[in-house]
């Protein structure tokens, strides 16, 4: 871990001006299992962040973690380093589900973890949940939601199980050894989640994210607002309007490169059209929705064309309009990709 950590520190220092500002509203330790990073390493990185950047008071500083890693002492050191928000990879409370997803933790681990996190003083806790798997019954999903909404967590990220090509899951299903993912069940479970959010007065502010009012995740929200971000470490993505780049994914290559102070990334320059399409695909997923004057400001399309596209989706009950904004209905959320593709240039 040590050489990788050193490489990341070098990257952090070298790239401190990438965003054009050193003001930070949020810091996020995620992707993979950063909670396995020794507490000192994490502390070191946060010190560096404070040294090179201007972290605003009350900034959101999140750590992704697995339920089985949440030991009280560890949590205390994290807190002391400045972490103020925990995102816990609960995924499921079904044993069968967890086994198939190759998770090392049990439902009991998850149930205890939230309590321990709250006891350790993390007021902001996110639960990562996965629904729509072949092993998650509707009853179990309801139980999971009953727990999640009352667990004390103030945020939930709920993802539909996705069968990515070339994954273990995909192979098992292709061979017929595991049941197929059923999109009817997935959509039913999503509807249930939507109803729960309504009933509990939560803010379902993005297709996969919901929170208690006023508790949206600052960091993730910024991805959908065209804000710059700097990603540190293997595979991390960085962005400023018009440019995106991503580091090599191989840990060894990444480390070796930074030993020579040599960045190793791929980058893409985003044309106006790409920016337009990205605006669409991120914004449409949020409750703010897409704003027509903002779309027109790209100078790539005209009002009549937009009216026609939006009008069609509106008549199908997929979107609604509020002033100049246009947001997805529940039905629209379930078909968001097709709608986005239709609207893209």
């Amino acid at each position: 871990m040590e050489p990788l950590l050193q490489a990341m520190r070098k990257e952090l220092e070298t790239e401190k001006d990438f965003m054009g500002t050193r003001r930070l509203e949020s810091v996020y330790f995620g992707g993979g299992t950063p909670s396995l990073l020794p507490a000192e390493g994490l502390d070191q990185l946060l010190q560096d962040v404070n040294q090179w950047f201007d972290v605003v008071p009350g900034a959101e500083i999140t750590l992704e973690s697995n339920p089985e890693d949440l030991e009280p002492e560890k949590m205390l050191t994290w807190k002391r380093s400045g972490i103020n928000r925990l995102s816990i990879g609960v995924q499921s409370l079904g044993e069968e589900d967890l086994n198939h997803m190759h998770r090392n933790h049990t439902a009991a681990d998850s149930l205890g973890a939230v309590d321990r996190a709250l006891e350790a003083g993390f007021s902001s806790v996110n639960l990562d949940l996965i629904f729509g798997s072949p092993w998650l019954t509707d009853a179990l999903w309801e139980e999971t939601l009953d727990w999640a909404f009352h667990s004390g967590a103030d945020h939930i990220s709920a993802y539909a199980l996705t069968v990515e090509p070339k994954t273990f899951l995909n192979k098992k299903i292709a061979k017929g050894e595991w049941p197929e993912v059923n999109d009817k069940r997935q959509s039913e479970q999503y509807r249930k989640l939507y109803r729960y959010a309504e009933e509990h007065g939560w803010d379902f502010y993005e297709i996969s994210n919901l929170s208690k009012p006023g508790h949206r995740a600052v960091h993730n929200s910024n991805y959908w607002k065209n804000r710059p971000y700097l990603g540190i470490g293997p595979s991390a993505h960085s962005y400023i309007p018009g440019l995106r780049r991503w580091n090599v994914s191989d840990n060894r290559k990444y480390t070796l490169a930074w030993q020579e102070l040599q960045p190793c990334f791929t980058q893409e320059v985003l044309e106006n059209r790409d920016m337009y399409n990205e605006y669409l695909l991120t914004r449409i997923r949020t409750t703010e929705g897409v704003d027509l004057p903002e779309l027109l400001a790209f100078g790539l399309t005209d009002a009549a064309t937009l009216e026609e596209l939006i009008g069609r989706a509106e008549s199908q009950g997929l979107v609604i309009r509020q002033g100049t904004r246009c947001t997805l209905t529940l039905e629209g959320r379930l078909l968001a990709d097709g709608i986005t593709a239709d609207w893209m240039l």
Partner: protein, 596 residues
């Protein structure tokens, strides 16, 4: 004329024709090592890639034997059944033929039919046992086959290898000694047989011919007898590696003529060139206006590209006179063309050339043959498009083209080949053993049955050990019906097919199943139905799309997702709409892919 030898090569694909031709050019010093690139005579990219000769070629070699100089004209022939008329014209221009047989494979069906064509024209056949360098060569068995087939003296078969060069001088000697010199009246009126023509963007059409009588001179006023057109010979010459202009080309020799002709269709292979003022009495026998065998609709993928497609088709026609087309429109596909082709390979070639040479991607509808439908008043209508077939109650009967199919295979595959042919409505006519384990089977079957899904299946069931050839046999009445495909109750004209009544149920079911895989889910349920007349015979349902949304969309996902959706969008743009259903391009070829 005494010094001229005109010959062609008859060989099955891959038996080494092009390689051996290269060797002949090398040994006669027509090309030197430096100029050599493999397969000199195949000059289309497509020909080199596919390893088949699509166009005929001709080249002249000079060769001295026993102190006497000779002129050897090699006329290469296309190697596919789609082009057998062109082969017949090349054969008619020669006095001899090399019969090349791969020593590890033996004689194949296509070779035999071309061989018979050569024998009919009285050509001297020089059998060559090629690839004898191969460890798997079976020279004695294959010699037996050749002796059986030709009744020739075993010693006259020349063992050779295009790879090592062995036997090449023996072949050259045999050409000089065994192929007769051309006969003809050197002083008679001009009479030359056109065996091919090529298009040159700067010079127009260049026609290749063999002079039978008289000569063709530069500046001569010539007449193309069957077409009834006349031209001035701007340039004449002989065919070396490049065109070699001469003042005249004499009786017995092979040459070219450039006369300001702009389009391929003005020149027909098999036509006779004569002198305008002093014409020959009659034209050379065997001329045919080749008729397309297979028809298909060709549509631009993007409807706006119709004009561009039209221009490209016209350009293709400049150098390929055998393609015919006329505008048609389809409710599903918009504006396009109904095109006629010599066969399936020809269709594929045209499709590929449109993509490569003109950058146009097209949707090709399911190919069909040309039917003759008789209505209740005994009026005959030619049906080149399934949608033109009148409803059953207005149709008295329908005729379809039949062929005689010849298949040569190993005896162990006879059973499967037979059942395939029966399955394809074939009627067994004959079977003969060529050797102890090779058999020739003859079937009568409808041409339509080999148009799709025949070659591939034949290849599969015989593990590649079957060769196939066919001859048209004429029209016969068949119980044919039009199978319609409906999406949410609306017929999709481009998916209609004319098929045998007994296959309708089975095929309808298969097509519906295949379409179910190919048409993406939409926001509503889609009913796919197959029907004959008013009767629905098969149905599948595509359930409504319930969920189409990516779970995660954070920093690392956005770019990938954008590209994915852009691709999806491009795919959607290329879809065609019938009623409220969107159909992807691939669906229009569904019938061809039923076994995939």
């Amino acid at each position: 004329m005494e010094q001229i030898r005109n010959f062609c090569i008859i060989a099955h694909i891959d038996h080494g024709k092009s390689t051996l031709a290269d060797r002949l050019l090398e040994y006669t010093k027509t090309i030197d090592k430096r100029q050599q690139q493999a397969q000199v005579l195949d000059d289309m990219d497509l020909e080199r890639e596919r390893g088949i000769t699509i166009k005929s070629h001709a080249i002249q070699m000079n060769y001295t034997l026993d102190g006497k100089p000779y002129v050897l004209n090699l006329i290469d022939t296309p190697g596919h059944v789609d082009f057998s008329y062109e082969v017949s014209r090349s054969i008619a221009a020669c006095e001899g033929a090399l019969l090349i047989v791969d020593a590890s494979q033996g004689i194949e069906a296509q070779t035999i039919s071309n061989l018979f064509m050569a024998l009919e024209h009285g050509l001297e056949i020089i059998p060559v046992l090629n690839k004898i360098d191969l460890p798997g060569a079976m020279p004695e068995e294959v010699k037996d086959e050749i002796v059986d087939l030709l009744g020739v003296d075993r010693d006259l078969i020349i063992p050779a290898s295009g790879k090592t060069g062995e036997g090449v001088f023996d072949i050259l000697r045999a050409i000089v000694e065994r192929v007769p010199a051309p006969k003809g009246n050197a002083n008679g009126p001009t009479k030359a047989l056109i065996f091919d023509s090529v298009f040159n963007p700067f010079r127009g059409i260049i026609a290749y011919y063999r002079v039978m009588d008289g000569k063709i001179k530069k500046g001569q006023h010539v007449k193309f007898m069957n077409m009834g057109t006349d031209y001035h010979a701007d340039e004449v010459g002989i065919l070396k590696l490049d065109l070699s202009p001469r003042d005249e080309v004499k009786a017995g020799d092979v040459g070219y003529i450039i006369s300001g002709i702009k389009e391929a269709r003005e020149v027909k292979v098999g036509d006779t060139i004569t002198d305008f003022d002093n014409p020959a009495g009659e034209s050379i026998k065997g001329f045919e206006d080749v008729k397309p065998m297979v028809f298909a609709g060709i549509y631009p993928v993007d409807t706006e590209d119709y004009e561009e497609l039209r221009e490209s088709m016209l350009k293709l026609q400049l150098n390929d006179a055998s393609i015919v087309f006329e505008p048609e429109s389809s409710a599903a596909l918009g504006f396009g063309f109904r095109c006629g082709f010599l066969g399936m390979l020809h269709l594929e070639i045209i499709q590929e050339r449109l993509e490569r040479e003109f950058g146009i991607t097209v949707i090709t509808t399911v190919p069909n043959v040309s039917y003759k439908a008789y209505d209740t008043k005994d009026q005959m209508v030619i049906v080149n498009n399934p949608t033109d077939l009148l409803p059953p109650e207005q149709t008295k009967f329908v005729e379809e083209p039949f062929i005689t199919a010849t298949i040569i295979t190993k005896s162990e595959y006879v059973g499967s080949v037979m059942s395939l042919c029966m399955d394809k409505r074939g009627i067994l006519k004959n079977q003969v053993y060529l050797t102890a384990d090779r058999i020739e089977i003859t079937f009568e079957m409808p041409l339509a049955e080999i148009v799709f899904d025949f070659y591939d299946r034949l290849k599969t069931i015989s593990r590649g050990y079957a060769s196939f050839d066919y001859q048209p046999l004429g029209y016969k009445e068949s119980k044919l019906v039009k199978l319609d495909i409906l999406l949410n109750g609306k017929p999709v004209d481009a998916l209609s097919a004319i098929i045998h009544r007994d296959n309708a149920y089975d095929l309808g079911k298969k097509i519906c199943k295949k379409l179910k895989d190919l048409i993406p889910k939409q926001q509503f349920e889609i009913a796919i139905q197959a029907g004959v007349g008013a009767k629905i015979i098969a149905r599948e349902t595509i359930s409504a799309l319930r969920k189409d949304v990516t779970a995660k969309c954070y920093g690392g996902d956005i770019s990938r997702k954008r590209k994915l959706l852009e691709k999806q969008k491009a795919g959607k743009k290329r879809m065609r709409q019938v009623g409220n259903v969107e159909i992807p391009q691939s669906a229009f070829m569904a019938v061809l892919k039923l076994n995939e």
